[in-house]
């Protein structure tokens, strides 16, 4: 019979093959689901994976992929640093919201003054906001030994309440006829995270995401901090002997991931979203966790995973409006991707063996 046997070492081959295999299996299982819904499975899969990249309107979709992937990559890069060191920041969604609030708040405070300095100040405020929000679980953990998973997660709901409070109160557009939501930053040039190339939608957040990938790569491979992060995750005891201070590492990892999530929030609120509104956040902070693992917690992997995730979103949207697929089917499809990735992932750590049953 078929049994699982733990490998002495995680398989490098499987680690690399797993994501690709997971995508292929998802295509097959997803295709079967689409067929069950009465759609042509090949056409549906083609629409999701091919249409945004090479279809009729690819020139619009390709840069949109980067726009959609940017916040995911930015957040996932930060999370991955912590995850590698066994520091679990699950509340990036909250840090994303706070970054957007502090960043947009700084911009709106200057309204209607125009200055080159306003946008850089907003970027700084966004990063600081996210950092500060992540410091709460960080300090509580270091000082009182609380669990950062629970604290950071619960702070997401606090942040959501704050967001609603701000959209209805302090940051509300005074010319908005009583409707909630701030001024639209698109109409305020100094604070607008405008597109860098005409008609692409590509904004500073995309640039920041790419820079973050490069920095994280250098940090992990060349810098002593990266070594400490990896060591703390793989061998906590050895790390302590090597002089790694767990408290310091916790604060650095949570702070970095918080700041990056805050940045993502700022770029989003000042760019594609345009305004602080009650339902500004759409779950990037949680999706980024998936992206981080899909990318094997490796900066380049995260870059690719973020783009793949963006492709399933945008391709999924295309399939929805072109083929009339229900939104739930697309969510199922994305869920399958994760499910199969985890399933295939098992082969990195285990191998399948045929065992003949012993005769008693």
């Amino acid at each position: 019979m078929l049994t699982l046997e733990r490998r002495p070492q995680p398989s490098r081959t499987w680690s690399a093959v797993a994501p690709v295999l997971a995508v292929v299996i998802t295509m097959i299982a997803g295709g079967a689901m689409f067929a069950a819904l009465g759609q042509d499975p090949v056409e549906a899969i083609r629409t999701i994976f091919w249409e945004p990249l090479f279809g009729e309107f690819a020139s619009y979709y390709r840069p949109q992929l980067l726009v959609k992937a940017a916040p995911l990559i930015l957040i996932a890069i930060g999370l991955a640093l912590g995850f590698r060191a066994n520091i679990w920041n699950i509340g990036a969604e909250g840090q994303y919201i706070i970054g957007a609030l502090t960043g947009a708040g700084v911009g709106l405070a200057f309204y209607p003054a125009e200055s080159m300095l306003i946008f850089p100040l907003m970027v700084l405020a966004g990063a600081l906001g996210g950092w500060a929000w992540a410091m709460i679980p960080g300090l509580l953990k270091v000082r009182f030994g609380t669990n950062e998973i629970l604290v950071s997660l619960m702070l997401v709901y606090v942040a959501e309440q704050l967001l609603a409070k701000m959209a209805l109160g302090l940051l509300r557009n005074p010319e908005g006829r009583g409707f909630p939501g701030s001024r639209n930053l698109r109409d305020y040039p100094s604070a607008h995270n405008a597109e860098l190339f005409a008609n692409t939608g590509i904004h500073w957040g995309v640039v920041a995401a790419l820079i973050a990938v490069i920095f994280a790569y250098i940090l992990l491979t060349r810098h002593v901090l990266g070594f400490h992060i990896r060591l703390a995750g793989q061998a906590p005891r050895a790390a302590r002997f090597a002089g790694v201070a767990p408290a310091r590492l916790t604060l650095i990892c949570l702070g970095l991931s918080g700041a990056l999530a805050g940045l993502a929030g700022l770029f989003e609120v000042a760019g594609p979203a345009g305004q602080v509104s009650i339902d500004f956040n759409v779950g990037y902070g949680f999706t980024a966790i998936i992206v981080a693992f899909l990318g094997r917690l490796h900066p380049v992997g995260i870059l690719l995973a973020g783009l793949l995730m963006a492709l399933t979103y945008i391709g999924g949207e295309t399939a929805e409006s072109n083929l009339g697929l229900p939104a739930a089917a697309i969510q199922m499809f994305q869920g399958m991707l994760l499910f199969f990735l985890l399933a295939v992932d098992m082969l990195t750590h285990f191998r399948l063996r045929w065992k003949t049953a012993e005769v008693a």
Binding site: F57, S59, R186, V282, I314, E320, S321
Partner: protein, 357 residues
């Protein structure tokens, strides 16, 4: 190909096609905030879409996107539709306002219709329904039927449309029952069945025996049914599966005539940017069957009020009315103007709930 070139090409084809539109299918797109199966708000918009398909047959093709988040993703969803050749796009939630305006600017030849907003452009119309007329009827029935004198209200977002509804319902409940008290829960969502069910249960626990809702799912109806002895009203859609109780009546949004008329205008080339706010009289707001659970005399009164509103003899916001803080708003016999109603950000006197800000 760049976007500008696509746009250019699109404009050119549209320009060339205009005289010969009769042979060309007109493409009408719909952007929904919830799933088409929500049984409420989005469901009724989708019924409107289906009515367009049925009315025009092969002449028109419709497309839709459901559960579109209100924010950055909305702009892409609308752009996508415009790129794929939609001639007319209905964006059916308040939160799509700025996204609609942004896309409309890039596609001057596509017509846009935004529901419940206030920003217009040469190619952007706004439309909404005077739901408060229906709320007045609900308030009347609720005030008459409550025994605990506590009426629960599941509000979504504190925007004028929702505040208007609470005021209209309260004014008419108090008129027939001075003891009545409104408890309001702000759910901060249009569609979230578990959250809506929680809100309904919380209100029932606080003694409410009537639940009014401004959220889109049937979850509050189910919660009321479970609790027993609680009545509700269908929101946006008839929610007939909960007849005769807990659902004793409903407000039905009937978008079909408007959608058909606007599509016809695009086909004829007579479409113009307009601001539409229709109520019971033109049929955009319908009152669903008042069931036998409502005493006959109350039903008669409700039907009479519907008739008076439809005939223009009665306006639900007629003075004397004071604002919540006691400052006078409308003098005796004075009727509220549309501008105040559209931007309504205050409760009327007697309401004890607060508008969050």
């Amino acid at each position: 190909m760049t976007l500008t070139r696509i746009l250019g090409a699109a404009a050119l084809t549209l320009g060339l096609a205009l005289p010969a539109l009769a042979q060309d299918k007109t493409k009408v797109g719909f952007i929904y905030v919830g799933p088409v199966g929500d049984g409420g708000w989005t469901y009724e918009h989708d019924q409107g879409r289906l009515a367009v398909e049925e009315h025009f047959g092969d002449q028109v093709e419709t497309v839709f996107r459901e559960s579109v988040p209100e924010g950055a993703d909305a702009e892409r969803a609308i752009t996508q539709m415009a790129l794929q050749g939609a001639d007319l796009i209905f964006t059916t939630s308040f939160g799509f306002m700025d996204a609609t305006m942004a896309v409309a600017q890039k596609f001057p030849d596509v017509k846009f219709e935004h529901a419940t907003g206030f920003k217009t452009a040469d190619n952007v119309s706004v439309y909404s329904a005077r739901f408060y007329e229906g709320r007045a009827i609900q308030g009347h029935i609720a005030g008459k039927m409550t025994e605990s004198n506590i009426i629960g209200y599941i509000a979504s977002f504190p925007i004028p449309e929702v505040i208007r509804g609470i005021n209209a319902a309260y004014i008419h409940a108090r008129k027939v029952n001075p003891e009545v008290e409104f408890k309001v829960i702000w759910a901060y969502t249009w569609f979230d069945p578990p959250k809506e069910a929680d809100a309904a249960t919380a209100l029932i626990d606080q003694g409410a025996d009537v639940i009014l809702q401004h959220t889109d799912s049937t979850a509050p109806q189910a919660a009321a049914e479970k609790a027993g002895d609680v009545i509700t009203f269908g929101q946006a859609s008839d929610m007939a599966e909960y007849k005769p109780t807990p659902r004793v009546s409903s407000i039905i949004d009937n978008w079909a005539p408007y959608y058909i008329a606007r599509t016809q205008a695009v086909i004829d080339g007579t479409w113009e940017s307009t601001e539409t706010w229709d109520g019971i009289a033109p049929g955009m707001v319908e009152i669903g069957e008042i069931t036998d659970a409502v005493p006959a005399d109350v039903r008669e009164e409700a039907l009479a009020m519907i008739e008076a509103i439809a005939a223009g003899e009665y306006h639900p916001f007629t003075g004397p009315l004071n604002k919540q803080d006691g400052t006078p708003w409308l003098a005796d016999g004075e009727v509220a103007d549309d501008a105040t109603l559209l931007g309504m950000d205050f409760f009327v006197e007697g309401l004890t709930a607060e508008i969050p800000n």
